[in-house]
Symmetry: C2
């Protein structure tokens, strides 16, 4: 094996191939903080270096795992001791900026926040946003088709990418750096790689699409008396705010009451006796106009009895306080540790029944269990936390079954935005049928016949 690493060292230089303790000193996963077990960690400076590294790996049948910011939630970047880690940490250049076309061309290792800031500097915005913005990288956002809090307005990472450069398993570089909004000249190859979690190719560069900046915003927290009115409220807000609706984040009472009154972590801006709470945000360009529209939308929702109570933020501080309740995942973790966490999507019409029945089925086994729910309602995406008081394997298997089985009947997804990785791999067939999985495996076989890229992740093992 040393021969391969020696050849790789000649490509990237001695400083850029870590072995032994230097690898162990790196975490394999940001949640467990377990040490990285990989054979070695290689830090190419360019697609060209990576191409040479992959050509060597291909010849030696050496499997690899790609590392971005390591903020994933499905163990998609965990490497085994016979695997080589490719880290894109040296590929952090913002290569070019086109204010007229509204694009940024970047290397894959650039953190999301740096991209957001670069967009702001030319008076535009990069529309993907999520809590891990400071650490996660553009390459990782692409590989996992990241979601976050602006999907209702701007779509997922897939919608922010115009072009890609990818290194394939055999080391060949495919540069598909399209910078146009419309290009129907042959297959749109980028979509094959976006969301493939590093199993079909390694993204090295991207052309990103920017959006106009939104200088005005309005935020409210409202209470809803029933799921029916909650859905009516979503439709009402979509209709009245149109393109300005920027967030519609729902907290079930289980979440809202826990994070406010029950724990005292946050003041409760509204009483905790309603079944649903929604954080609504509009994004516009003119503060007075945006505020007026928003107020009208809230007032008319009141009149239609789509909401029972509301507080509108009248300062940035108030806005931040409202968001702090929704985003206090750290608090949630502390309050109901240990917990099992799920990221599911399902048709909105099925949500209320699904959550109610889940609570019943969980409490039938663990009468004191906590089922805490919040999510991006407009996207059909819920984050469900379940705490039974223990975290052992048997409980995990039972809970997963209670969460996933009804999803299969509804046609829901076991992963709305986090991906499959290793963690959900055994459950893929809940959300995808045998025909779909066979087609995915056919694609994987065509793109990576030796199975070198993120081996054993996402798809079932070949027999």
């Amino acid at each position: 094996m040393d021969t391969l690493l020696d050849f790789i060292e000649k490509v990237v230089g001695a400083k850029n191939i870590l072995r032994g303790e230097d690898v162990r000193a790196r975490p394999a996963d940001w949640i467990t903080k377990e040490p990285c077990l990989a054979l070695a960690l290689v830090r190419p400076a360019s697609a060209d270096q990576l191409s040479q590294v992959m050509a060597l790996c291909y010849e030696a049948d050496q499997p690899v795992v790609t590392h971005g910011g390591l903020t994933g939630l499905v163990r998609g970047a965990v490497a085994a001791s016979n695997e080589l880690v490719i880290s894109l940490e040296r590929m952090t250049e913002i290569e070019s900026v086109d204010p007229v076309g509204g694009t940024l061309t970047v290397q894959a290792g650039v953190p999301l926040q740096i991209v957001q800031e670069a967009a702001e500097q030319i008076g535009m915005q990069f529309a993907l946003d999520l809590g891990a913005r400071g650490s996660c990288t553009i390459g990782g956002n692409i590989a996992t088709n990241a979601g976050g809090i602006r999907v209702i307005r701007y779509g997922m990472m897939r919608d922010q990418v115009l072009g890609l450069e990818v290194v394939l398993a055999d080391g060949s570089v495919v540069s598909s750096m399209n910078n146009m909004l419309k290009n129907n000249a042959g297959y749109d190859l980028k979509h094959m790689f976006i969301g493939s979690e590093g199993t079909l190719g390694i993204v090295t560069r991207a052309v990103l699409k920017l959006q106009p900046q939104q200088s005005a915003s309005q935020t409210a927290l409202v209470a809803c008396d029933s799921f029916e009115s909650l859905v009516g409220l979503l439709q009402h807000m979509r209709q009245t705010l149109g393109g300005e609706l920027g967030a519609f984040e729902v907290m079930w009472r289980s979440y809202y009451a826990l994070l406010t009154k029950e724990s005292g972590r946050h003041n409760a801006p509204l009483d905790t006796d309603a079944p649903f709470y929604v954080l609504i945000e509009s994004l516009g360009n003119d503060q007075a106009e945006t505020a007026q529209r928003f107020e009208q939308a809230i007032t008319s929702a009141f009149e239609k009895e789509l909401l029972s109570d509301a507080v509108v933020a009248n300062s940035d501080t108030q806005r931040d306080r409202l968001w702090a309740i929704r985003e206090d995942i750290e608090g949630l973790s502390e309050l109901i540790a240990p917990r099992f966490v799920f990221d599911i999507s399902l048709p909105i019409v099925d949500m209320d029944t699904y959550v109610n029945e889940l609570e019943v089925s969980v409490r039938k086994i663990w009468p004191d269990a906590k089922v805490v729910v919040f999510g991006h309602l407009g996207d059909g995406n819920l984050h469900v936390s379940i705490s039974t008081g223990d975290s052992n394997e048997e409980t995990r298997i039972k809970i997963e079954s209670l969460v996933y089985k009804p999803l299969q009947e509804i046609g829901g997804s076991i992963s709305a935005e986090h991906g499959i990785g290793l963690k959900k791999k055994d459950h893929l067939s809940i959300s995808r049928n045998p025909g779909e999985i066979a087609l995915m495996m056919r694609l994987k076989e065509a793109m990576d016949p030796k199975g070198l890229l993120n081996r054993g992740k996402v798809l079932p093992n070949k027999n």
Copy 2:
């Protein structure tokens, strides 16, 4: 060969397999109206029937061409005499409507306009729109990733599709009928088929995403004194109208003057001496508010000297008259017949120089040639018509070279929204590099190893 057709007849019934003169009576192409030369035309009633038909074709190595509404512009549906046509004309059902999730589930043969009307009936809209709406089908829109006049606001057909059902070359059915906005459970297979022009699979059903209805609109025709101010105007409108900007259609003077003063086909709402004219439309929900915003946006553009003249439509009739100029492709065809037509995209910053240099290079050979340009500026998409007075093959080849060669240097596309089909196949390498084409061919090989689906279209022939 008769044996295969007999077996197919048993699947679809005698009435649903046309042969001989019945096939010849059908057009192969809506522009040339030439007769369809195919061996036979098969009209399956369902994905199940199509699956059986394709399994028979696969066994017999029988190539097929799929027909939707036959409104394509790149000869993508033309069948040779040894090919079988699969027509989806009997698969026209709207299967289900979900007003809460905002989705429609339809068979692939449904015409676009029927889908638009079904969406309107539940108070929503289907956002794809183009001139051929009455004839083109959803399956064809998907296969070609159709564009049209609302791309600047809602994206292309790709952005309107949540799930697909596809019959593969070997007859297997892949049902990937996702109806959720977010689903990261494994590869997003639909994107492989969208825009693949019938070469990777035959789309039989789809889940379509709907948008809120926009009840208010405002339309203006404005004149710009320079390309610089035109680009400034686009940015200004994006910034001030935000999500309400619904169209930004530019006509070069060559187009606007020809269709108005020079031909007398339309009254000229503005003088014809400016180099650029733009049809701007905003879409909102409140007529008074939308009108006020629009007026402010136009007024402030005036003050910034981003436009030199403007007329705002104050009735539906006036609006229709403005759009009639932009959409009079029939008039254009008559006025400068014969003409060579191109559908290109390129970075906006390069457009002005590109068009100017194209005019110079064309007139160097044909001093009296007409170069007429209009397009979807915000999308980077131009439609270029060139008339030299003749339509012979030699001229065509020269003109194609003048149009495409500079595009290659800029990194533009030879097809923004029409696709490649047969017509542009030999030029694919202008817009896509050898690595990209090799990857496309690898995909084609994996999905359709016998090359039965729309053989010889889009990609170079093997060897």
